[in-house]
Amino acid sequence: MKTTDTTIDFGTFWEGVWKENPVFVMMLGMCPTLAVTSSATNALVMGVSTAFVLVCSGALVSMLRYLIPKEVRIATYIVIIATFVTIVSYVLQAYAPEIYKVLGVFVDLIVVNCIILGRAEAYASKNSVLRSVVNAAGMGAGFTFALLCLGAVREILGSGTLFGVHLFSAHFQPWLVMVLPPGGFFVLGGWLLLFNWLKQRVASAGTLQEETARAQ
């Protein structure tokens, strides 16, 4: 499994954002996706925290990839991931304590976010440090993007604000359901619908082009 390829492949970055988006395509990390997206700020902080852990743990795992015996690899990955989650937790407590209070236990739960362990196992343990970092950054960006999509819709409808800024007049009627757990499911379903519809359209346009090209 030794890779000597040291070129950077930015394609894998965009794959993480779009084609293999962890939320909209792989349906991983659903717990934080549904739980902390009641506002855009929470979603952003959660997404960036997860991305930070992804990138750092990806880099460290990749660095140590020839060293880690396969029998204890999962334990090693978890220790590495937990380290960075603890760091994130301290940093949030120090510099964003209000958000830390809201996110609470979900920050610590980043440890068991399957996106991170999945990346460590499937990518970082087999690729060079640079490639792993790019890949992890793509996944992190995709996760943040998805969380922001949910958080923005839920905050706009549920509180009439976006990043805490009031968008409407004082008479705006908040849709209470959107900040409650069911709202997470509704909005996630809506985005999945839109996302798949877009992908289908792109795909069918692609095949159409191919067919016309072949006919000519």
């Binding site: 009627q173 959107m178 069911p182």
Partner: protein, 350 residues
């Protein structure tokens, strides 16, 4: 319905009339709902009329848009979207803001029906899905009631009706100077639950009380439901089981729990139980079709309704009872499969 035939037709046997088509049944349900809608307009004025038209329009439009987007044949003519719209409007407070009505209609059709595959595949009664959504989204607006027979109800809208989209409805109290006696928009169930006042059963029976647009008159709903049952377009056993169980449960509480529990008649005629039992629990798609199954299904819903009313946080529980019943109905159908005549029960072989 049957067109005059100028020619003499000779037919061989069998001379059995065909079962009514889906379209016929649906049309008759609409006919049965029209008197109830008319009474709602009489009782609550032009606001109720606007609400009924808006919600029904929203349902029809949503259905149409999804048909176009999915390149499916036009399904508006099977009347089912119209029924969903009518029923949904009748379960909403008369002064419900029209824009919220549009949201409710959209959710009812999109989430309650289209996502499951359209008519015949919906797991839940679509109208109630729409109502449950707006109940969760706008808990205040959906529990703001206006008094019945307010003077001037045909001349001006209830102020909350014309709320601009996405805005909070104004307080209904502003409208209250039209009410003859002291303004009280509380429903009979709310009065009982939160204030311990019991409205007279005859008022409930005829519908002279506050409540959702079309749920107030038990008498009218019973008559319209009887029409459908007589034409065999509705399974009479479901409402019979649901109302019967609700009444029995209420009686048991009254007998063993003390006199602070209301009478069975109050339970039957208040709130949305009548409308729900006759027109929503009987949704053909979302109810189990086995003979024994429908009795169990109705009984479960009647029991849950009373339990939610007595012990839940909200005064009314018919909506959640029916949605729960809908969810259980495939299971009920499964365990009540009639034995095929002559078939023997399979024994597990050693």
């Amino acid at each position: 319905m049957s067109k005059p035939q100028p020619t003499i037709e000779l037919r061989t046997s069998p001379h059995i009339k065909s079962a009514p088509t889906v379209e016929q049944i649906m049309r008759n349900v609409v006919f049965a709902l029209l008197p109830i809608s008319a009474f709602a307009v009489y009782e609550f004025g032009i606001s109720a009329l606007a609400l009924i038209l808006t919600v029904t329009g929203s349902c029809l439009l949503t259905e149409h848009l999804f048909n176009r987007a999915g390149e499916k044949p036009n399904s508006l003519r099977d009347w089912s979207a119209a029924i969903t719209g009518l029923l949904l409007a009748l379960t909403l407070p008369p002064g419900f803001p029209l824009w919220m009505g549009v949201v409710a209609g959209f959710v009812a059709i999109a989430l309650g029906k289209v996502l499951f595959g359209g008519l015949g595949f919906n797991v839940f009664n679509p109208a109630l899905v729409g109502r449950a959504f707006v109940q969760a989204a706008f808990p205040v607006a959906i529990t703001t009631w206006t008094p019945p027979l307010a003077p001037g109800r045909f001349l001006e809208f209830i102020p909350s009706t014309l709320t601009a989209p996405f805005m909070t409805p104004p307080s209904v109290a502003a409208w209250s100077h039209h009410a003859v006696d002291a303004f009280s928009g509380a429903t009979p169930l709310g009065l009982w639950k939160f204030q311990g006042i019991v409205v007279s059963t005859s008022d409930l029976f005829t519908g002279m009380s506050a409540g959702s647009a079309g749920e107030t008159s038990a008498l009218l709903i019973l008559v319209c439901g009887a029409y459908l049952a007589a034409r065999r377009m509705m399974d009479w056993r479901i409402p019979a089981a649901m109302l019967g169980t609700a009444a029995l449960t209420a009686l048991a509480f009254r007998l063993f729990g003390g006199s602070h529990y209301p009478t069975p008649l109050f339970v039957l005629f208040s709130g949305g139980l009548m409308l729900g039992a006759l027109f929503m629990a009987t949704d053909m798609v979302a109810s189990p079709l086995t003979p024994l199954g429908v009795w169990i299904y109705g009984a479960v819903m009647g029991f849950i309704t009373v339990i939610i009313r007595y012990f839940g946080g909200l005064p009314e529980g018919v909506m959640y009872a029916i949605l729960l019943g809908n969810a259980l109905s495939p299971l009920i159908a499964l365990i009540t499969q009639p034995r095929v005549y002559g078939a023997r029960r399979e024994r597990s072989k050693p």
